[in-house]
């Protein structure tokens, strides 16, 4: 126990430093965004873009990490992969929720409606629902729930190209994939800074959530050890 304490403290210190840096970024990003040039047609409401797109990127990243972990669990029996899949799916649900809230706020101002069944919006909603389904399958799927959820994660990952390319394949209301590359020079720094800060936050949250899963696994091991000890002494 004593020998593990310093490493536990180190990991807590690393987590706190990461969290502080990220939180610092969360205060700096709005300042950069506020100073970014105004978009001509949409005006100030276009600034939602600087938070909406990073959240959408993290929804996609979470889905891929979840699918990678699920693959490791399904084909190599990796428990660590399974834990990684669960944690990233949870983050996918969190950032997907942010996408589902910030997008309609932007849409209300830009298109006049909170929601429309545009192919990008619909496929993103499906992706988010698949990640929620992943969590539900794990929780209520019984003995085979984890394997079922892992298979669902692969389907969710297969939806990602559809989400990404939908704006180019079917011309809807949503801006296409060339929006970022065609940003005005003054908009690039705030956007990429915001993207970096959101990605760092994702990393910190994943580390925190993985720690919770690791502790949970240790708790189960200890409970089994106590049961064994009680069985031997009886």
């Amino acid at each position: 126990m004593l020998s593990t304490m310093p490493s536990a403290r180190r990991s807590r210190a690393r987590f706190l430093v990461g969290l502080l840096l990220t939180m610092h970024g969360f205060f700096v990003a709005p300042l950069l965004v506020a100073n970014a040039p105004l978009e001509k047609t949409m005006g100030i409401v276009q600034k939602i873009f600087y938070f909406h797109v990073p959240c959408a990127w993290l929804l996609i990243l979470s889905t891929f990490v979840c699918a990678g972990g699920s693959l490791a669990y399904l084909f190599a029996g990796s428990e660590r992969g399974d834990r990684l899949a669960l944690c990233s799916a949870e983050l996918g649900v969190l950032f997907g929720l942010c996408v589902m809230v910030t997008g309609p706020l932007w849409a209300r101002a830009a298109w006049g409606v909170f929601w429309t069944w545009d192919v990008r919006l619909t496929s993103s909603l499906l992706l988010w629902l698949m990640l929620i389904g992943y969590g539900l399958a794990r929780r209520y799927g019984g003995a085979g729930g984890r394997r079922l959820a892992a298979a669902m994660a692969l389907f969710a990952a297969a939806d990602v190209p559809l989400v990404y390319l939908s704006v180019n394949l079917w011309r809807g209301l949503h801006p296409n994939t060339r929006t970022v590359s065609s940003l005005a020079p003054g908009m690039r720094l705030p956007f990429f800074f915001s993207l970096a800060i959101f990605s760092a936050l994702w990393g910190v949250l994943l580390a925190l959530r993985m720690r919770a899963e690791h502790s949970q696994a240790r708790l189960v091991e200890l409970a089994i050890a106590i049961e064994d000890a009680e069985g031997n002494s009886a």
Binding site: I48, L94, T102, A109, L208, R211, S215, L219, I226
Partner: protein, 44 residues
């Protein structure tokens, strides 16, 4: 401006609540682990 503030505020709120929930869970599990360790120690 209201929509921009709402969007950013929502993200902040969601992340804050998530960190709070996970942090509380980690603390509860750590307390349970310590409790089990104490129970296991006299037997060793």
């Amino acid at each position: 401006m209201t929509y921009v503030a709402l969007a950013y505020g929502f993200i902040w709120g969601a992340v804050f609540i998530y960190v709070l929930l996970v942090g509380r869970r980690v603390a509860r599990i750590d307390a349970e682990i310590e409790d089990l360790r104490r129970r296991l120690k006299p037997r060793a």
